[in-house]
């Protein structure tokens, strides 16, 4: 095994950045779950709100993607 402490730190950091995925998962699940519970109460109004749901998913997901970006930067750019 070769390598130095900086590389070790980068790899550990990249692994730790993956915990951000959990946050994105909670966020997206929350958005869709609440949409579904509302849609089942009033199915006639649900169709018009799917676009809003996707916008919400996109915003929740963006922050999870940022953690992926941090992992990539640590792996390939540092």
């Amino acid at each position: 095994m070769e390598g130095d402490i900086v590389q070790m730190g980068a790899y550990i950091g990249a692994g730790l950045a993956c915990t951000g995925m959990g946050g994105a998962a909670v966020g997206v699940g929350h958005v869709v779950g609440n949409f579904l519970s509302g849609a089942l109460r009033n199915p006639s109004a649900a169709g018009g709100q799917t676009a809003t749901m996707f916008i919400g998913i996109a915003f929740a997901e963006a922050l999870g993607i940022f953690s992926f970006l941090v992992a990539l930067l640590l792996m390939f750019a540092v």
């Binding site: 676009a51 996707f54 963006a62």
Partner: protein
Amino acid sequence: MKEGKTLADTKDAAETGLVFHPMDQFQVKPLFGDGPIGVFTVTNVTLWMALTVLVIVLLMVVGARGRNIVPTRMQSIAELAYGFVYKMVEDVTGKDGLVYFPYIMTLFMFIVVANFLGLLPMAFTTTSHIAVTAVMAMAVFLAVTILGFVKNGLGFLSVFWISSAPLVLRPILALIEVISYFVRPVSHSIRLAGNMMAGHAVIKVFAAFAAVTLIAPASILAITAMYALETLVSFIQAYVFAILTCVYLRDALHPHH
């Protein structure tokens, strides 16, 4: 990285246990020869972007040429795509946003076709590169910002001043809004590129496990499932990119909350 070397070579395939590196598929290589990549070098990105444009032209121009009352299969796909994007722009942006429908249609068709072509085995996913998506996102950002100032003058700045919030909170909210406004092109581009890159890398990781006899059946099942998911994600990401463009456009046309 050195020219002509893949990641699998540099990382020592025997040590990592992978025959190929999952990120190898994203390498930009010249199509002819092994020379350095300049501005005008024809690379695999060029090839797959050209194929994307070709498929769109075949679908939307040649496929819809007949204008039959009872549409053929190609024509009904083209009509479905057109109607889908048209309704989305109308719903999100309003009637006055329909002037910008051709731009959003172009973005949507390019992204969705590039994503689907990238799912073909041995294909190159052009949208998995931040360089490609960043150009599209910056174009949207600049266009929307300029449009906002042209349409509303300095009144466009009221997009940062949320008049429905309590007066004490407004300066803090304005700061947050300014930050989130300038993060838009970053999140807009990284979302598409990150989703595409991550999905394709996952497929390749499972493909590497298929070489181990013991877990090969499970791995092949996982690849099939990931492919189904990726097909869905390809479409949803194109949809999300287009709908966020519509949302930004709505902010530029009607900045008052």
